[in-house]
């Protein structure tokens, strides 16, 4: 028998820092697989945020840096401009990217920085204990919206659609992490995002719809069902821009 699927080398030899069933783990795994497949482990820099995505620091076996809250795109801009030979992968959660870091991501995208940004959207502030995020669904419960989010809190923000209003971005896609087929599609999208960077094409943005079993207060299996029933209806997966064309 031949081994057809193995644990990637670009992962550290330890369990992740994530809760059981958290799709952040699946995400860091498929990114590590791509790093192996491209053979870029020595030249990759992972730029991590504040929030649960920062726990990728227990997973990646590459160079990495954890930025100030929301500032990962700015940190990554500095790294990429000074070391263009590096592959710079920015990973941010929705609390980090769409809230405190909203200005940074808008301007990095507007400058068309040659970066690959992975946006983990699980609709909640995970690390700090389940507070409402800009992406929380109307009616979805959070510790700061115990009866569920209402219109008075504003509406879920769709970052792919918002970034797609800008002229400079090269590639924008939203994927989901709820099934093997969708995870394979997400890996393809990230591959494209990395190839774009290697070919100097500019800004690639891949949003990954994800879960948070702990703060959604449900089992991992239930969180997948919740995503299919609610999250993926609000956030449509698909390619928003490919090749600089809207």
């Amino acid at each position: 028998m031949e081994k057809i699927y193995s644990r990637p080398k670009a992962l550290q030899n330890r369990a992740t820092g994530y809760c059981p069933g958290c799709l952040h783990g699946t995400t860091v795994k498929i990114i590590a697989e791509l790093i192996d497949e491209f053979g870029i482990q020595d030249s990759t820099v992972a730029v991590l945020p504040i929030g649960c995505s920062a726990l990728d620091c227990w997973s990646f076996e590459t160079d990495m840096i954890i930025s100030l809250h929301g500032r990962a795109p700015a940190t990554a801009t500095g790294i990429k401009r000074n070391a263009p030979e590096k592959t710079v992968i920015v990973i941010q959660g929705d609390g980090d990217l769409a809230s405190i870091g909203l200005a940074e991501i808008m301007h990095a995208a507007n400058r068309g920085e040659n970066l690959t940004v992975i946006f983990m959207n699980n609709g909640i502030f995970g690390m700090t204990g389940g507070q409402m995020a800009p992406t929380t669904l109307i009616g979805q419960k959070a510790t700061t919206a115990q009866g569920g989010r209402t219109e008075a809190h504003g509406y879920p923000m769709h970052m792919c659609e918002i970034l797609n209003e800008l002229k400079a971005p090269y590639y924008i896609q939203r994927c989901a992490m709820d099934s093997p087929a969708h995870v394979r599609e997400a890996k393809k999208a990230i591959r494209k995002g990395l190839e774009n960077q290697m070919n100097g094409k500019g800004f690639s943005f891949i949003e990954l719809m994800s879960n948070c079993p702990t703060n959604w207060s449900m089992s991992a299996e239930k969180s997948i069902e919740y995503m299919r029933e609610y999250t993926l209806k609000e956030f449509q997966i698909g390619v928003y821009r490919d090749g600089g064309e809207k």
Partner: protein, 67 residues
């Protein structure tokens, strides 16, 4: 024939692999790892087709697939 091997030290018993498997091959076993999680294992007599759906979903990269 195909089979999966679970790196039991990494498993967190989340069951996403069980949910993903089209052939109902996997189940939570009785073995508990050092972190206290009941590790997933192949069911006796189950027929794995080597599709790797379980491994693709696993957040801990704990599953390796042979075909």
């Amino acid at each position: 024939m195909a089979k999966v091997e679970i790196r039991s030290e990494f498993c967190k018993s989340c069951k996403l692999c069980i949910m993903a498997c089209p052939k109902d091959v996997l189940a939570v076993g009785s073995k508990v790892n050092a972190a206290g999680y009941e590790v997933v294992e192949m069911k006796e007599g189950a027929e794995c087709i080597g599709c790797a759906s379980c491994a693709v979903m696993c957040p801990e990269a704990a599953i390796e697939v042979y075909k």
